[in-house]
Every structure is written in C-alpha cells, then in structure tokens.
Symmetry: C2
Subunit: 491 residues, 2 copies
C-alpha cells in the first residue's frame, strides 16, 4: 500500500484540496449529507487550534459556558435582520419520538409526538444566549459578561466542501455584554487582534485586518471586523470575524441594566467566532503537491524519527542513540514521535509524514550510527541533509523556528505579490479573474458593491484598518472615494 | 445582596440539590424544555473533568475525533436492541428550511423543505460511528481503532433535573474496534479502571466497580461494566459505564477485517462514556447545607485570598504581603485567586466562596499584617484558625491534600456505613426504603430482578467485580445463588 499521488495544484486546485483532506487523514464525508467526520489526525490539529485560542481568550478574562443546542423558532424572529441572514436554511426539529412502523419496516416518526413549537438546531447562538443574559443582568455590577462556548452549529448549506462549508461545523462563539458602547466596540476590536495574532504566529497565515462593508456584515451587527487571508489560488478566505452588535439583541430580548446613576439602559453586545474553516485556510495557505505542510507551532507531531532497521538488534542499537535525543527534545517541549513500527517500510513512513505535513523528519540507520550522523529532512523545502549527531537537538530546535518563519514569509510574499492597486473598471474585470486582492476605490454604496459582485463575483473582503487616506474615484461609478478597499473572489 | 440560605438536606434533599445548582452558579434551566445552560463556574469544573479524563484516555492510546450530530433514521433500526433502548424518545429533524409566515407572523416551517429521510439528533453514536468504521477497516493492520469524542447528545427525557437527567447533555463517548474478543473485553475493563481511578482520586467519589445485570445493560451490549456511587441520601448513581459490544454493531454495519490468516472476520467493539451527570454525583457526594464542597484536585479555584481593607493604602500593604504568597502557591501549581474587588464586603465574599465550595479561604487584614498572621478557613470542616504567615505556603499545600483525603474518606465511610447484607425478603422491603446499598443473593434471572423492581423500585446496581463467592439463597425466589449483588434505589 503506497500513497497515490495527489492531483497537482496547477492541474485542478479544487480536486487537489479534496484529495489532500482525505489522504492526509484530516476529514471525510459522512453518511449524512453535508456533515463531515473529522478524523483523528485532523482533530488533533483542531485541538491545538482550540487550546491556543482558549488560552488567549482566558487571558482576556473570557470564561467558557454552554448554551442549548436547540433554539425555539420564535426566538429567531425577534431580531429582524438576524432571521433573514441565518435562520432560513436550518435543521428543524418537529417531533420528539419514533415508533415501530405498523408495517414492520423499521421505525417511523410518531405523529402524536409533534412539538408545540418547532426547535431549530443553532446556526449561531445570539438569540438563546441573549434570552439567558436577560436573567443574569440587572445592574452595572453584573457587567461585563464575557462568555465563550466551543460547540457544533448547523447551517443547511446546499453545496458543501470539507472544512470550508459544511452543514455541521465546530466553532467557538464568544458573546459579551457591556455597559457602554465604547467598551463593547473596544472589546470587539481586541478579539480581532487575538484572532490575528494567533492565526499569524501559530498558524503562520498572514491576514489583513479590516471592517466589512454593510453588505458583508453579520446579520444583526452594526459593525463586523474580520481577518482575511489569501489562499494559494488567489482567492480570499474569511478566517475569523468579531462583531459589534450595538444594542440590537439587548432590545430584541429586553436586556437592560441599572446604571450607576440608577437609570435603566440597554446592554451593548459583541460576538466573535472562528470555526473548523480555519483548517481549510491552513491547508490552502501552506500545502503543496506532496501533501499537507504544517507550521511547527501548530503541528501535533513536530519531529518524526524513523529508525531504519532489519532486525530487532539493529533497532535496539539505533534506539540507544535516538531515545536520549527524543527525550531531550521532549523536555524542550517539542512534540516528537519515534516510529518503530515494523509493518511499514521506511519509504512508506517517509511518504506518510510528508503527506501529513510533519515539519521535520529524521532518519537514522546502522551506518549513520557508525558515522555519528543523522538525516534531517525539512517538509517546507523538501530538502534533506546529513548532519552530525552532535548538536542535533540545538539544530532541530532552531530549524523548527526557521521553518515557522519561512512558511509565514512565503505566504506573506505570495499575498504581497498578488495584491495590486487597480484604477479602471476595464482593468478590474480582467485582473479580478487572475485572482489575488485588488485594492480599489469604492464609492461606499451597497448598490455599487452589489453591481460589481453581480458582474464579476468579486466582493469587498474588507476595508483595511490600516488603509491610508487617499483621494480617488470609485472603480465602477467614478464617484469620489477616500480610501482603497480590498476586492477579491472569495471562498 | 446576601446569599439566601439553602433549604437544608434533612428538610428536602431534592430541593436542596436544585437550589444549590443554581446558587453555586453551576447551571440553570433554559428556555428550551429539558435543556440546561451550564454557567461559567459549572463549566470550569466540567473543563477540569474533561482535561483529567482526556489526558488519561490519551495515555491509553485513544485519539479524539468528531462524528456527525445527526443520524439517519434507518441506521437506528439496524441494531434491534439498540433501537428499542435508545432511539424512541429523541429529537427528530424533518425539515431544512423556514420561511416567512404568509400571514406575517414571524417564520414557519417551509412545507416544501421536507427531508427525504428524517434525521435523529444522536442519543449515542454507535450507529453513525460503525457506519464510518466500515470504511476505515479492511485488514488486521487497521486495528485496533481507539477513538473518543467529546460532544453533546440528546435523549428526550420526560422528567429532567439539572445535570442528572437533561434532554441535552455533554459527554464523551469512546468507540473502539479490535481484532479479538479478548482484546475488546480487556479494553472495556481498562477503561472502567480509568474512570474509577479518576473519579476516586480527583473527584474524591468512592465507587464500586461491577457488571450490570442483563436488565440494566446498555442496549446492544453483551456486557456493561459500571462504576456506582452512593449519594448522601442513600440513593445510587451510575457514574460511568464501559460496554463490551461483542460483534453486534460490526454485524449490523457489516464491518469485517482480513485476519493474518487472510480470513474475513467481524470486528469486536467497545464503547464507554461519562457525562455531565458526574457533576450531579460530585454535588451529592460532598456538599453540605452551606453549599458546594469541592475536592481540591478538581476545584477551579483551590485557594481564595480575601484581603480585608478600607482604603487603597491598606490594600497595597496587604498585597505586598499576599502577592508573594500567591505567586509561590501558583508556582507550585496551586490555583489561587486574590480577590481585591471593592464592591463586595468580605462577609459577602466569604459566603460566596463557601457556596462555591472553594477548599481553602484565607483572610488577612491590617492587624494580621502587624501580627504576621493569616486566617485559614477550611471548606470541608467549616473550621478556621489563625496561623503565622511563616510557613503558610507549606501549610496550605499539605492542607489541600488533607482536605482531598478527608472528603474521600468521609464519603467512603458513609458508603460503608450504609451498605449492609440483607437475607430476607421481609427485611429487604423495609431496609431498601431506608436507602443505601443492600448486598443480597439473587437467583440470576431477569424475572426476579423485574419483580423486585416492581415491588420496591430497587434495581441491581451492579454485580461487584470483587464480590467473594458465597453460597446463599435468592432474597426473593429462594433459589440458589453464588454471590451477593448490590441492590439500591437509583437516580
């Protein structure tokens, strides 16, 4: 059993992605339409994303909690924009019992067990959470509330792709309640920074921080902050969002607090989330035609050590050299696997670690032991070198950081090379089809944005937070504009 | 705002429990019937249960994964006993879209969006997982598979109680696949030992390890191992189960492997789980009329330090003494909170930490600083003493272990005092109403077990693994029996 090669990215990027997800043992389709199985190796990566973010949330004073999976249908109607944006394509629970089929064919829904009010599987939890916060908040002393939950959600997507768009996905959703507008807005911004820092420093994915245009805002938000990444095919991927919700949900669920001045005031809200979609961003930022490439800060296995042996004696000799090295690496907090399995050839193991994106692979045989050397292979550059065993721990420690920096830089260079200004509508229509980010002037109206989307499929990915003021004319309408925004075709 | 007292346990145990769960900020009812909100403090305890178990699972070679929330209705019919046991009272998804009510009253289910086959929210995941394993297993080389998932499940319970019995709950479910019967049975036993070790050493809850009688077995299992705990009211609570499933699910989903001898064989299975029900066991094992009592090994906050001050200057002086102590405790891995909030009185804080079960509370004021002393209060015994600051770190470190041992011993003593042999049916009917465990002879038939349950509500909690062989006569039928089993009234 050897790995079949992946379809190359140049041949068919979409097929390459689909094959990689399955062959690197990350996820697969399940028997339920649009719902995926996240396989152990894929889940191990997700667990590391969870752990990294969770620690950062807790440093911000956020506490985890858990709210119900099901939401009463009537809750969805309370926030008008929210129901339009979210609640339509969703899984609806109508009954609470099955019974034996009177015709003896398995089980059928018991018609007598119809629910009085239908329940929706959460597509996002603002409504159920704000119905709960109503009971938690009475005074300014109860604020802020900073809660997060790690959970599953469902959105009945018509076209699904593993990690990128699935009917069920895993995510975290933070929901905070504040006494003032300023504090809420500031918190939404802080969480955007948390996301950007994590995604860049751990996942090695460079992101643009920005604000969404009104058309692309979260349904029910006054302002949506986002981080946008560029995939290898030049498409944009929204990697995380943080919303300033104003008092919309507080008003819908009648959540007020008594201020220090003893006046009732509506509460201010934020919500923010990232999902298993980040797995898709990870794959499409770094991987190559040989499989997954993982940044060392995220990789569940950072260093795989493959002893090359025929008999048990040889293995014992090699392990006597290898185990102390593995122990020293582990003591330094490096995640090492010594692969002593004897039912796979070294070549098969090499291919497996390559497909799974393990950053550094070491190989060592009897002759290496004699020579005091070891072979070191880098996943990012696919280069190998034979190095002395002496100093190998220090070398690997430095190498992991070098790989981390290298793949981040490579992704950043790619984004910079594929981000360009565009100042004419004719040029825009041609350039946008080549992929990448186009920095353009826009007149600020939803109508123009809609029209551009209709004609080219491109959307405004974000209005960058750090965009300099610059006078110009809208790419489409020619009306005046004061800064450039980022257009792209998006996942 | 001061804490209202709890109803006392002697007055109304059930009401005491319900009040404690809410007042200690562990959980509350949600707007959705039978579904709870797990509040941040309750969730922090659950997170520590998760972390402790997860590390132990991983030491056994178990990997986490994620399987779909929804299960096709037809899957449930495949394993006959399983559908009888589980699939009847469940949430049924029948539609995938809502639409605006033509009469303008919010949203309604879109009748055109009916699913071809109804989907069930998982009550447990054997069926969807074994339909997946079919694709993962072809050879003995693919075995064993040792997967676990942390997730939510739903069972449409008629009568619900926070943590003990809720429509939605959180749990972990491990699902393993093995080449041999012996290996599977052994693994099921190993996981029982993992549960018992964790629940006893971290949660300080003594448990009996045993096997379920056929009536109490998991639907679809050949053998169910369990850990049973005794609550303060003498009732039994099943704290965890580990099932040897034989080849039932492999046969239902046609999962075979080619053996070393190249012969197709059905795969052997186990499944095992614990849930947020453990929170109920925790509360009802240790807590008292003043609130929650937490074992130090589990407590999110092990030591709360309350400075007693009027002005900021006093606080600064106290902190100069306190902070180095808190730092040293933290360095030793002890979870400490220094509570400098100035909008609550010390008395209110004391009551709060008492209600929340924080094992050790320290209080220190200006006079203590002068005298070089600090007040140390133990939650388990509700005793206080004033001690010299010198050596306080060592004292607290030892005290936490002492409290851990003490509350375990107290619970064990209670169970021993309330476990007794019973050898006559007349006596049984009287004794069982007093609560506790009755060790009795039983003739081994489901009929007798059923009859006893019908007459007294008592069930066989387990056939203890370490029960000595002893000849006797069945408490009910008088037929011969070879060991005692444990009867109790259970949650």
């Amino acid at each position: 059993m050897a790995y079949q090669k992946l379809t190359s990215r140049s041949e068919n990027y979409s097929q390459w992605y689909n094959e990689l997800v399955v062959k690197a043992d990350l996820a697969e389709q399940s028997a339920v339409r649009g719902c995926m199985v996240i396989k152990p190796y894929g889940y191990a990566i997700w667990e590391r994303i969870q752990a990294g973010l969770d620690a950062r949330f807790k440093q911000k004073g956020v506490q985890n909690a858990y709210f119900p999976l099901l939401i009463p249908k009537s809750f969805l109607s309370r926030e008008a924009e929210h129901v339009e944006g979210f609640a339509k394509e969703c899984a609806v629970v109508t009954h609470h019992r099955l019974m034996n089929d009177p015709n003896g064919r398995g089980v059928v829904v018991d018609p007598n067990a119809r629910l009085e009010e239908e329940l929706i599987i959460r597509p996002t939890s603002e409504t159920i959470i704000w119905s709960t916060y109503k009971n938690w908040i009475s005074s300014y002393r109860d604020l802020p509330i900073l809660c997060n939950q790690w959970c599953n959600v469902m959105r009945w997507e018509m076209r699904t792709r593993l990690f990128l768009r699935t009917a069920e996905f895993l995510w975290q959703e933070g929901h905070t309640a504040h006494a003032s507008k300023e504090e809420a807005e500031d918190f939404a911004r802080q969480m955007l920074d948390v996301y950007a820092e994590f995604v860049e420093s751990v996942m090695a994915i460079p992101v643009l921080k920005g604000v969404k245009s009104p058309n692309e805002r979260f349904a029910g938000a006054l302002n949506t902050y986002c981080i946008e990444a560029m995939m290898q095919d030049g498409k944009a991927l929204q990697a995380g969002t943080s919303h300033f919700l104003g008092q919309n949900f507080a008003k819908s669920f009648d959540v007020t607090y008594l201020s220090k001045e003893n006046k009732p005031e509506y509460v201010w809200a934020t919500s923010w989330g990232v999902s298993t979609r980040l797995m898709g961003a990870l794959i499409m930022t770094h991987s190559d035609d040989n499989g997954l490439v993982l940044p060392p800060h995220l990789a569940p296995i950072q260093v795989a050590i493959v002893p090359i042996f025929k008999q048990q004696e040889q293995l014992d000799t090699i392990l006597a050299t290898i185990n102390p090295i593995a122990d020293r690496l582990q003591t330094l907090g490096i995640r090492v696997k010594v692969d002593t399995a004897d039912n796979m050839t070294p070549g098969f193991k090499f291919a497996e670690y390559e497909m799974r994106g393990v950053p550094v692979r070491l190989a060592i045989g009897a002759r290496d032991i004699e020579n005091g050397t070891i072979e070191v292979a880098r996943r990012d550059t696919l280069t190998k070198e034979t190095l002395p065993l002496e100093g190998i721990v220090e070398h690997i420690t430095a190498l992991l950081e070098e790989i981390q920096a290298n793949i981040y830089q490579k992704a950043l260079d790619f984004r910079l090379a594929n981000t360009r200004n565009c100042d004419s509508w004719d040029e825009f229509q041609v350039e946008i089809q080549k992929g990448g980010f186009l920095a353009c002037h826009w007149d600020g109206t939803p109508e123009t944005e809609e029209k551009i989307k209709e004609l080219t499929k491109a959307t405004i990915r974000c209005i960058p937070l750090d965009a300099p003021a610059e006078e110009g004319k809208c790419i489409y309408s020619g009306k005046p504009s004061h800064q450039r925004v980022i257009f792209a075709i998006a996942y």
